[in-house]
């Protein structure tokens, strides 16, 4: 029952989070923007459409949509949202591998269609995620040490709460996770999710040849991924909210995600897209922050 609530919340809130990000961005650049429910409407529209398939595509292409969505669902099942119990308790190293699996299939599918942009997007996406991985590993290592447990749900819930001043490393780890959120979810300083120029795309170029239900699954997966990262980064800052009863925990989780969405929207509205060559230093900063967080624990 708890698991059902957990997954329902993730599935229901993930598109809304994307909607909040878009609305904030529109509001800050003095536009009205699409309604908050636009991501749901987009998904509904895509689910009713047929699939157009490249003639060179193989079974890998057909498999990519379900694998990407499935991977995101398992990831959501392992991430604590409103309490310390998760449907699938998972070791944090496996969690990182599970983040890489859907991306592997998606890059393959991008190459599979035989279009130039698919391959270009795939290679960029692989490069960005490869550079993001050490930072993620170091950040989760730091959290595991701080929470003295090795499953995602376990260490997030047992982080020392209300101690941002006594444990400044939690701020560093939350900062690292936020930088990774931006890089891994194709957000503005790294990648522009709304760009219309294929040459500058990263993530969007890769999924350019997907249509209909496939595209809907991939979009749902990226909404879920954004929600997973937001839940992770925000629960590092407010670990106390994971120890509440479900009655209080659910609104607290929604509030956390909404705050995260507003923050992402503000960053997107306030910054300009970086050159591709600047992405590497950006992610190196994340790695340095995470390793300093580890060094601080070693010292403190």
């Amino acid at each position: 029952m708890e698991s059902l609530l957990h997954m329902t919340l993730f599935l229901a809130l993930a598109p809304l989070l994307s909607g909040i990000v878009r609305k904030t961005k529109a509001f800050l650049s003095c536009r009205r923007g699409a309604p908050l429910a636009q991501p749901y409407l987009d998904l509904w529209k895509l689910f009713r459409r047929g699939i157009v398939r490249s003639t060179t595509a193989s079974w890998i292409f057909d498999l990519s949509g379900p694998v990407v969505l499935g991977g995101a669902l398992v990831l959501a099942a392992a991430t604590p949202l409103y309490g310390r119990e998760v449907p699938i308790p998972m070791h944090f190293v496996f969690y990182i591998y599970l983040m890489a699996l859907p991306r592997f299939f998606q890059t393959l599918a991008g190459l599979d269609t035989g279009s130039a942009f698919g391959g270009l997007g795939s290679s960029r996406e692989a490069a960005v995620s490869a550079m993001a991985e050490p930072a993620l590993l170091l950040a989760l290592c730091g959290l595991a040490h701080l929470g003295a447990a090795d499953s995602i749900g376990g260490f997030l819930a047992s982080l020392p709460s209300g101690s941002v001043f006594r444990h400044p490393e939690t701020i560093l780890i939350a900062g690292t996770l936020f930088l990774l959120l931006i890089a891994e979810n194709a957000r503005i300083p790294v990648d522009d999710p709304t760009t219309h120029l294929e040459l500058t795309m990263i993530h969007e170029a890769m999924v350019l040849d997907h249509a209909g239900v496939d595209l809907a699954m991939i979009q749902m997966a990226s909404h879920l991924r954004l929600a997973v990262f937001s839940a992770l980064a925000s629960s590092v800052l407010f670990p106390h909210s994971l120890t509440l009863t479900p009655g209080l925990g659910v609104p607290a989780a929604m509030l956390r995600l909404a705050l995260c969405g507003v923050l992402i929207g503000a960053v997107e509205a306030g910054t300009a897209r970086m050159k591709l060559s600047r992405v590497a230093p950006f992610l190196m900063v994340a790695t340095v922050l995470a390793s300093i967080a580890l060094a601080l624990q070693y010292a403190g």
């Binding site: 001043f165 490393e169 701020i171 560093l172 790695t287 340095v288 390793s291 300093i292 601080l296 010292a299």
Partner: protein, 207 residues
């Protein structure tokens, strides 16, 4: 104390990897302000010497020196880029390695707990100041590096448990202030003589 030290450490890293001059000066001002708060936290109650030290640190390092530097930047019209000899990536990696080695060094010094974090932050500031001084092309950035290096020594002294002695600290402030002042005047002179402050070109001078 720990939070202040971590903030100072982050500011030091920010300074070493920043590519523009104005953010670097803002980072310097923030460092001065945080350093000023340090003596207040270490003493219990109101100690007039700690208050005097706090006020003078914030006045000199948080306000006066950044003001002189930003005035120099706008008067000299030297542009935004601080032009480093090494790439930003190399600077980030170097700063990261130096920060971690600062933690190891403080471990060897026998500092523990929050003193170790303070000491590591001080050493990081010292290293990043040194890095800025040695790898930046423009004179203003080198002056910024010098001030950061001095901030690092201040923090290291505070962390290693030595007492804040007012006369000595005030003497250091005076030295630092005069040094920055003189460097500012020197930069104006160089600017007037050569129409730029790119020190790399000094090698091409002949008598």
């Amino acid at each position: 104390m720990t939070t202040l030290a971590v903030l100072l450490l982050l500011l030091g890293i920010h300074l070493a990897v920043s590519e523009r001059i104005r953010p670097a000066i803002r980072s310097l001002a923030a460092q001065g302000f945080l350093l000023g708060l340090l003596p207040l936290l270490d003493t219990a109650g109101t100690d007039w010497r700690a208050v005097a030290l706090c006020v003078s640190t914030i006045a000199v390092k948080g306000a006066a020196i950044p003001a002189i530097l930003s005035r120099a930047v706008s008067r000299l019209e030297i542009g935004q880029e601080s032009e480093s000899l090494i790439s930003t990536r190399a600077a980030i990696v170097l700063t990261g390695v130096l920060t971690l080695s600062a933690f190891v060094a403080c471990e060897r010094f026998g500092l523990t707990g929050k003193d170790q974090i303070g000491g590591a932050a001080g050493l990081t500031l010292l290293f990043s100041g040194l890095l800025t001084m040695t790898t930046r092309v423009k004179a203003v950035s080198q002056v910024i590096g010098f001030v950061v290096l001095e901030n690092g020594i201040f923090l290291l002294g505070a962390a290693s448990g030595s007492e804040f002695t007012l006369p000595i600290e005030l003497g250091i402030f005076l030295d630092l202030f005069v040094a920055v002042f003189l460097m500012g005047i020197l930069m104006f002179k160089i600017q007037r003589a050569f129409t730029h402050t790119d020190v790399a070109n000094i090698h091409a001078l002949k008598d």
